[in-house]
């Protein structure tokens, strides 16, 4: 348990860095939020008034201190575009993005890990080259392009996919009562199978477009670490002991290969969370990515700051989770720190 606390404590410096950088970055954004907020009919006096009201006329250090005080109180400011507290906006929209990212990652894992294992058991064979070529091509196309292509083929031409109108076609279905904010989970909790299937159907195309990109890193690290484990001395010992092939492959090789794989999975997950920005635009997904794009276009400081801060915190927490997973996989990790 002390291990968890130590790792948590270790995240403090990075969080401080994140707070400083988000504050400075959002002030470097072009555009004047006071002018935007005042509207097109405003004159110089009313803009100055609004600037004073928002605290934007004070010096940067003072603004920063104010920002810290607000953060401590859980106040991320109000969004200029939605008029709601940024924290409320983010909490409302985050589950949509998490859900999408999770399904994308699940798709990638289910394809890429068996592929990597398969390739590692036959290095330099035709199968190996085929796997490598497939994942490279999948990673080579821009995410939004793949998204548009899939919509065109599966919705427009073939008509097998539902209309890309976001998380649920709300003309036909009512969103489930909010528990986690993830439609698939919430509809299962309320036992509404139809809504569950409908929201799952909406997830398929965006999750695939997002997940295709993740195939390459996962398949490669799986192949590389499996090759290493299969060539190791302890695999030789297992073979010398006459253990069956399946046992050698799973208990001896794959479990040892899992540690690097889990590290990469953590990185890929946070990367996918960031890539949501593009996919959510294509599929009309009401997640934090779409929110961030709108905020940047509107010079909405508070919303942008809140978004970046939340992503950074998520990233730190995710890394913590990966570390904890690592200690479960490999007993040596517990003793290193």
């Amino acid at each position: 348990m002390s291990f968890v606390w130590r790792r948590l404590l270790g995240t403090v410096p990075s969080l401080i860095g994140v707070v400083v950088v988000t504050f400075l970055l959002s002030h470097a954004l072009p555009g004047d939020p006071a002018a935007y907020f005042a509207g097109p009919a405003a004159n110089a006096t009313s803009i100055a008034q609004i600037r004073a009201k928002l605290g934007l006329d004070r010096s940067l250090p003072v603004q920063f201190l104010q920002y810290i005080v607000d953060l401590v109180h859980g106040n991320l400011g109000n969004s200029l575009t939605t008029g709601q507290p940024v924290l409320t906006d983010l909490i409302q929209r985050l589950p949509a993005s998490i859900e999408l990212t999770f399904f994308a990652l699940a798709f990638a894992v289910v394809i890429a890990i068996p592929m990597g294992v398969w390739a590692a058991t036959r290095p330099d064979s035709l199968a190996d080259h085929f796997c490598r070529a497939t994942v490279s091509v999948a990673a080579a196309f821009p995410t939004f392009f793949v998204g548009l292509l899939l919509v065109y083929v599966f919705y427009f031409l073939l008509g097998v996919a539902p209309e890309p109108v976001g998380r649920l076609n709300e003309i036909l279905y009512t969103p489930p009562a909010r528990v986690t904010g993830m439609y698939t989970v919430d509809s299962l909790i309320s036992g509404d199978w139809q809504t569950f299937l409908a929201s799952l159907a909406q997830l398929v195309l965006p999750a695939i477009s997002l997940g295709l990109f993740a195939l390459a890193p996962i398949a490669r690290i799986t192949r590389a670490s499996m090759l290493q484990a299969l060539g190791s001395d302890f695999t030789r010992t297992a073979r010398a002991g006459g253990l069956p092939r399946s046992k050698i492959l799973v208990t001896y090789a794959f479990r040892n290969a899992l540690l690097p794989v889990s590290n990469v999975l953590g990185m890929v997950f946070s990367f996918l969370l960031g890539s949501n920005v593009l996919i959510e635009q294509v599929y009309g997904w009401q997640g934090i990515g779409a929110y961030a794009v709108t905020a940047v276009l509107a010079s909405d400081y508070a919303a942008v700051q809140g978004f970046v801060l939340m992503m950074a915190v998520l990233y730190v927490l995710l890394n913590l989770l990966v570390d904890l997973l690592g200690t479960m996989i490999d007993p040596r990790v517990r003793f290193e720190s």
């Binding site: 010992t237 297992a238 010398a240």
Partner: protein, 320 residues
Amino acid sequence: MTGQLQIDRLSLVFRTRHGAVRALEDVSLSIERGEILGVVGESGSGKSVLAYAVIGLQDPAAEVLGGRILFGGLDMLAASEQARADVRGRELAMIFQSPRTALNPIRKVGRQIEDILRQHANVSSGELRRHAINALARVRIPDPERRYHAYPFELSGGMCQRVMIAMALACSPFLLIADEPTTGLDVTTQAVIMDLIRDLSRSARMSTLLITHDLGLAGEYCDRIAVMHAGHVVEVASVEKLLDHPAHPYTQQLLGATPTPQSTIEGLTAIPGQLPDLRHDLPACRFSARCARRVAACEERPLPWVSIGPDHLVRCQVPL
């Protein structure tokens, strides 16, 4: 004579990008029940290749050109992979050098022994643990109940090698192949491990094939010694005959290069030259280029086996 293990005229090459490496040529050896046979030679002489060929774990690039390996009644080279896997770990076991990396780093050592037992021994799953702890106790690991739960990184190198031996002997095999089992261990641990191997093989009438580059070690623990050079077995004899009356010039020079408690650094001699490149055309006697006693007959094929006395064979035209 039908031994526990009989190797008949085994020839093996490695197909590499830079040509075929003739790693073993016409290797014949046999081990009796309960006997400890040492295979010595410098690095690259083919000792380990021989060991891996016997247990059937040779590199995928290896190709057996001819010969037979008979283990018990089983023709190891002709047998199916399934039949070989069945023998491995049960009747034929192997321990390796660098025991720490030879154990699965993220699995408790007790569980690793259980894996072998579950595969080969007729032990119910409730009994597995007791058998694994017994196996640890047999190799004189103190406090075996506690060590059962240890991971390899929590144990010393010597302890890890004991665990390896416990694993190898868990199913009471007929033959143990020990590939440089004490390389990388300190001298005291080396003696403890070798004593352990000798005692266990004596008490169970188990045969042991000891692969080592250390002629001194082989002389101390083996019944017979086979000397290898560049993929050939050049001399086989009982320990006393080999150490006192070496018949092959290479054996003699190897003895001259082996430190003993009595020898000084000046008293040691180096063997001139190096191992020939096994990819090129080789003379009938692969030692001839390094040999001071070379005569014209050394070029003649085949290289003969000369019997010097009972149980003493040498492959040399002009033995000492």
